[in-house]
């Protein structure tokens, strides 16, 4: 059954959103109607509450606090602001409860000023989040901090709203089995 389904699914993938019934060349099992609204013809399979990256839904479900992964900074600054204390604490709690999990902290800056200084500033931002996590019980080896400086802007604009979005540290997760976001 499984063997027959794969070619059928592949041809479904190639033909995309065609609404006409797909002829079954192999004469095997008919293709079932697809659910899912993505329009790609592929419904992501969820087994055991794990998402497409192999991470628990707790980390990615938009309703979960742990799905909030960005910490924003003021111009030239790398202190974690009070408004992010709760968020950092939630992530620290998760890392304490799940010692096999790791996080990569990516520090970013806006486009203004020296690229090299911004690389260091991004590192400081990632490092500040790392220190908070470790202080709250995460282990050093669970947390790596790197910087992307101004090189990978999330918002390519050239105004304050773009800049404030780019002054940011992101938290990326990796599960104990090595699957995840980095």
């Amino acid at each position: 059954m499984k063997k027959l389904l794969i070619p059928a699914l592949l041809s479904a993938l190639i033909l995309g959103c065609s609404s006409t019934p797909i002829p079954d060349e192999t004469g095997g099992a008919p293709v079932e109607s697809r659910s899912g609204s993505s329009g790609t013809g592929v419904a992501p399979v969820v087994a055991g509450g794990v998402d497409a990256n192999g991470l628990p839904r707790e980390l990615t479900d938009p309703k979960s606090k742990l799905a909030q992964r960005s910490i924003y900074f003021d111009l030239d600054k790398y202190e974690v602001k009070d408004e992010y204390r709760d968020l950092v604490a939630s992530h620290a709690k998760y890392l304490v409860a799940n010692r096999g999990f790791k996080v990569l902290l990516q520090g970013n800056t806006d486009e203004r000023g020296s690229r090299e200084y911004n690389l260091s500033l991004g590192q400081k931002r990632a490092e500040a989040v790392k220190r908070s996590l470790v202080l709250l019980g995460a282990k050093e080896e669970q947390v790596e901090s790197v910087s992307l400086g101004e090189e990978k802007p999330k918002n390519a604009g050239h105004d304050e709203s773009a800049w404030s979005e780019n002054r940011r540290a992101d938290i990326l997760y990796k599960a104990a089995d090595g699957r995840g976001e980095f």
Binding site: S114, E116, Y117, L119, S120, Q123, E151
Partner: protein, 426 residues
């Protein structure tokens, strides 16, 4: 089906134009200022092969004119070579203080040879001459050598027309590390990557570039031999590796590593061995540059609460603060003559090129732009190359160290950034 053909033709044409645009990613130069007292000089057409003459003579003239230090006096119709008798009074009468004349001949091994002589028409004497053997593909190089000779004889300082520059072009989703002549011509791509490339730095003999590449999804320092294309990793530690700077004798590089937490300055041998930590601060230490005598290092640090420029010994030790005005002074670059320090200063939210006279500590802001970055001195210390932004696009600009002469260099395709002016031709 019949709508298909024009569509694919359009796609093909667009593809052709894009690739053609990339292949011709030459820099074009626009001069936006000139020196106050330009030396009037006449450059006669070289006699001999007319095609070769045209290329060489045009190169010499445009080099001298672009420097902002010379005014070209019309020499059309003058049939002269390096051995012709010169009517000094006539040239003086036309307003020329100096005259160059020459020819293209054959060297004993059958290649082309560009010969010329330079005259001081005021004193009615020859200032010397030279001959450069060249091939068809190196005619412009011969022109640059002649322009360097004339420049040095008339100004007393070495010319930089035969030098090269390195810079990064961001074209669509690609990053190209390119090398071009100082006039922006003859661009060649040394490295193409889908990830950012920053901070190219020339080795003192001009054969290698150190730079930071993100191709391993994080910043790593490489050294790249330009002639062979061979490259090796100099620093790839945990965290970020960046900001390479060569020691003046080329044996070592200062680099910035975050392996122990924050960005700190280390030195490492050019082959990646012998790592040694040079700074110890709780904050950011980055952008190291050796002084030309190799005895000290200038760098950027926020140890005092805002990013400022400091100086320490080449092997570390106590640091002295160098900049005090304003809350953001970064990217220190000492000139080769050791007299000045170029850097980027933030004034009322705008990032501008400044230069400090190291003896008097006087600082002068040289530009009126918003987004200057990455200064680098020409090896004769006269011009400073920077990245800046015009109309939302990255361009390169060369500014004389007195701020009077400004040239803009722009690439037709894409954003240009991270310039580095190479050493003297060797």
């Amino acid at each position: 089906m019949n709508t298909m053909q024009p569509f694919s033709r359009r796609v093909f044409l667009a593809f052709f134009l894009l690739t053609a645009g990339l292949a011709n990613a030459q820099l074009s130069i626009e001069i936006t200022g000139a020196g106050a007292n330009r030396i009037p000089v006449a450059i006669a057409d070289l006699s001999g092969d007319p095609t070769a003459s045209r290329v060489i003579t045009a190169t010499v003239r445009s080099d001298l004119e672009r420097s902002g230090l010379f005014k070209l006096v019309d020499a059309s119709g003058a049939a002269l070579d390096e051995n012709s008798p010169v009517a000094h009074a006539d040239w003086k009468g036309k307003g020329a203080d100096a005259l160059a004349a020459g020819s293209i001949g054959r060297s004993p091994d059958g290649r082309m040879e560009a010969r010329f002589r330079l005259y001081d028409t005021q004193k009615g004497v020859s200032l010397g001459g030279a001959a450069y053997v060249t091939g068809n593909e190196q005619l412009r190089a011969a022109g640059h050598r002649i322009a360097d000779f004339i420049y040095e004889k008339l100004t007393g300082e070495k010319g930089v027309f035969s030098t090269r520059i390195a810079y990064v072009v961001k074209s669509r989703s690609q990053f190209l590390l390119q090398i071009a002549d100082a006039d922006g011509q003859g661009a060649a791509t040394a490295l193409t990557s889908t990830e950012p490339i920053i901070s190219p730095a020339w080795s003192p003999n001009g054969s290698k570039l150190a730079y930071v590449s993100f191709e391993k999804k994080k910043p790593v320092v490489y050294v790249h031999s330009l002639a062979t294309g061979q490259r090796h990793i100099v620093a790839n530690f945990k965290g970020s590796n960046s900001a390479p700077a060569w020691s003046p004798n080329g044996s070592k590089l200062a680099v910035v590593l975050s392996k122990d937490g924050n960005s700190q300055i280390y030195s490492v041998n050019a082959d990646g061995s012998g790592l040694q930590r040079l700074t110890q601060s709780g904050g950011i230490d980055t952008e190291p540059r050796y002084s030309p005598d190799g005895a000290s290092l200038y760098f950027t640090s926020d140890r005092g609460g805002s990013p400022q420029i400091y100086r320490t010994g080449a092997n570390g030790g106590e640091a002295q603060r160098v900049t005090f005005e304003g809350s953001y002074n970064v990217s220190p670059r000492p000139s080769a003559d050791g007299k000045s320090l170029a850097f980027i200063t933030r004034r009322e939210g705008r990032f501008q090129l400044a230069v400090m006279d190291l003896a008097s500590r006087q600082t002068q802001v040289l530009t009126d732009s918003n987004k200057d970055e990455s200064p680098s001195f020409a090896p004769n210390s006269r011009m400073i190359l920077i990245a800046t932004e015009v109309g939302g696009r990255g361009v390169l600009s060369a500014v004389s160290s007195d701020g009077r002469i400004k040239q803009r260099l722009s690439v037709a395709a894409g954003d240009v950034r991270e310039p580095a002016w190479g050493p003297f031709f060797q």
